[in-house]
């Protein structure tokens, strides 16, 4: 009887802890938005974070985009040629990347590369009392440290996703046109005729913006809320990557179901 009660108490406290943490995250998000004006009034802080989150993520994003495009080109050609429509390779590559793979894969890579770094940095600043020291100097860490990192991620993410898609299309072109010999004119013209700016490109940008908000919020929150020890920070980094990945995939499903309802 006692063990059942303990089990229920343990389960209940875990559920209430999660709900409490979710509430704290919501208040944290509201606080970041409240301090956002200060971030945009100090562009040098924002540029520094765009450099760290965006520019330093470029290599992994561009290389991954190229390889995803190469694979899409191979797989797409293999399937399309069975139905005699290998000229449609350009459409397949472009739509797959712009609608889905660009935002989603770039988001996952961004969470692993930049999100984990932001969590580690903020978590270690907390563990080494740097945030407390800043607060004692009458400088709000939310305004000075957290908000610029959040917005740096939000601004970087759509740009990285766009570059990922661009490299992917280039990868598809390399395989399809240069190596396999699909007609170049058909590749580009079919792509141009079928990819709609509002339906496809803009929706992809919206997705990558939403993923940027989610990943950046998770990264700064996990860092700020981490237990200030080596183990605590390492767990926070793991949570950032896992939670971000799940959030991206779940949000992708929700956004896709709203954006492409006619399908």
């Amino acid at each position: 009887m006692d063990s059942l009660r303990n089990l229920l108490v343990g389960l209940g406290s875990r559920v209430t802890d999660r709900i409490w943490r979710l509430g704290f995250a919501a208040r944290f998000f509201a606080a970041i938005l409240g301090y956002s004006a200060q971030t945009f009034l100090r562009p040098q802080l924002l540029l520094r974070e765009i450099w760290f989150s965006g520019v330093l993520s470029l290599i992994i994003i561009l290389v991954s985009g190229l390889f995803v495009g190469l694979v899409l080109g191979l797989q797409g050609y293999e399937t399309l040629q069975r139905y005699g429509s290998s000229e449609a390779l350009g459409i397949l590559v472009a739509l797959s990347l712009v609608r889905e793979l660009g935002p989603v894969v770039a988001g996952l890579l961004f969470a692993s590369r930049a999100g984990s770094a932001v969590t580690a940095e903020i978590g270690l600043m907390k563990a080494t009392e740097q945030l407390k020291a800043m607060d004692m100097m009458a400088v709000n860490p939310l305004a000075r440290v957290v908000a610029p990192r959040f917005w740096g991620g939000v601004i970087s993410m759509p740009l990285l996703a766009a570059l990922f898609s661009m490299m992917g299309v280039f990868g598809g072109y390399l395989i399809g046109v240069v190596f396999i010999g699909v007609d170049e004119g058909a590749f580009w013209s079919q792509m141009q005729a079928s990819v709609d700016f509002r339906e496809d490109v803009l929706n992809g940008v919206i997705k990558s913006f939403v993923f940027g908000v989610a990943v950046s919020l998770i990264a700064v929150f996990e860092g700020y809320d981490s237990v200030p020890t080596a183990e605590g920070v390492s767990r926070a980094i793991t949570r950032t990557v896992v939670t971000s990945a799940l959030a991206i995939l779940a949000l992708d499903f929700v956004l896709t179901s709203f954006m492409f309802r006619s399908l």
């Binding site: 740097q130 004692m136 100097m137 400088v139």
Partner: protein, 270 residues
């Protein structure tokens, strides 16, 4: 203690998760003096410092700094007050992504609109005061523990605070660095006309530089006085602490049952 006190603490209580940390604390910190708060680890010294700095709110009693109740201040008021406070953290808490120069300049740049030439002069003056003007280009990871503590001290006095707080300033330092930091704390306090509160358990160094000492144990003040008064006291707690005796009012053994009964029980099992 004289009546002109910068910091006054009255009947201060603080609990964390219903666990009492501080219990009925009364303390005065006169202007211009260096006062030490001593006691064993976990007796609530650092918590007290955080209550004075407004990072924690008391569950009872009051903390007044310069005649203003810190515990009743709103966010803006508290930040205005903290601009006139400096705090040296246990391991310095330097910002590791910026240089020594930028660490010291941090507060000046955040809170003033001074031209960069003037900021540079101020930073160099502060670094010169702690003997590290030549290290202004170094990054925090290139500093020794003692140097990092001195840079943190230069950063803490960047805006000439009225109140300096030191959280275990001597922890982990070699004897030479320890003496240097101790002397700097005293000299800077006198040069700035500030008031200093130092939380420490380094007795020998503190006794040389402080004007007054409070001894704390289990969240209470158990003894107080000037270094000379405390050296002469017969109070068993102070005696045990000053002369680092293993056993006394603070017992060596964690509370346990009868030792022989424990041994007999383990023999019977064996």
């Amino acid at each position: 203690m004289p009546a002109d006190c910068l910091v006054k603490i009255r009947d201060l209580n603080f609990s964390y998760d219903n666990r009492p940390i501080l219990n009925g604390i009364n303390m005065d910190f006169p202007r211009g003096k260096v006062v030490a708060i001593m006691g064993g680890s976990g007796c609530g010294k650092t918590t007290l410092l955080r209550l004075i700095g407004g990072q924690l709110r008391p569950t009872g009693g009051s903390v007044e700094v310069n005649g203003q109740a810190v515990h009743r201040m709103g966010h803006a008021e508290l930040y205005a007050m903290r601009r006139r406070m400096g705090m040296l953290f246990q391991f310095g808490a330097l910002f590791t992504d910026i240089s020594v120069f930028d660490n010291v300049a941090f507060q000046i740049r955040e809170h003033t609109d001074l031209p960069e030439e003037l900021v540079r002069d101020l930073v160099m003056m502060k670094l010169n005061a702690v003997g590290l003007r030549g290290a202004h280009k170094l990054m925090p990871n290139e500093l020794s523990g003692g140097m990092a503590r001195r840079v943190a001290l230069a950063r803490a006095i960047a805006l000439d605070p009225m109140l300096m707080m030191y959280d275990e300033p001597f922890t982990g330092l070699d004897p030479l660095s320890l003496g240097v930091i101790g002397q700097l704390i005293r000299k800077l306090n006198d040069a700035l006309g500030a008031t200093s509160i130092m939380v420490t358990h380094d007795i020998q160094e503190s006794m040389l530089i402080v004007d007054y000492i409070y001894f704390m144990s289990e969240g209470r003040v158990v003894a107080e006085g000037t270094p000379d008064e405390l050296r002469a006291t017969k109070d068993p707690f102070v005696h045990q602490f000053l002369y680092a005796e293993a056993d006394g009012p603070v017992p060596f053994h964690y509370p346990a049952g009868d030792f022989s009964a424990d041994l007999l029980r383990s023999n019977a099992r064996g």
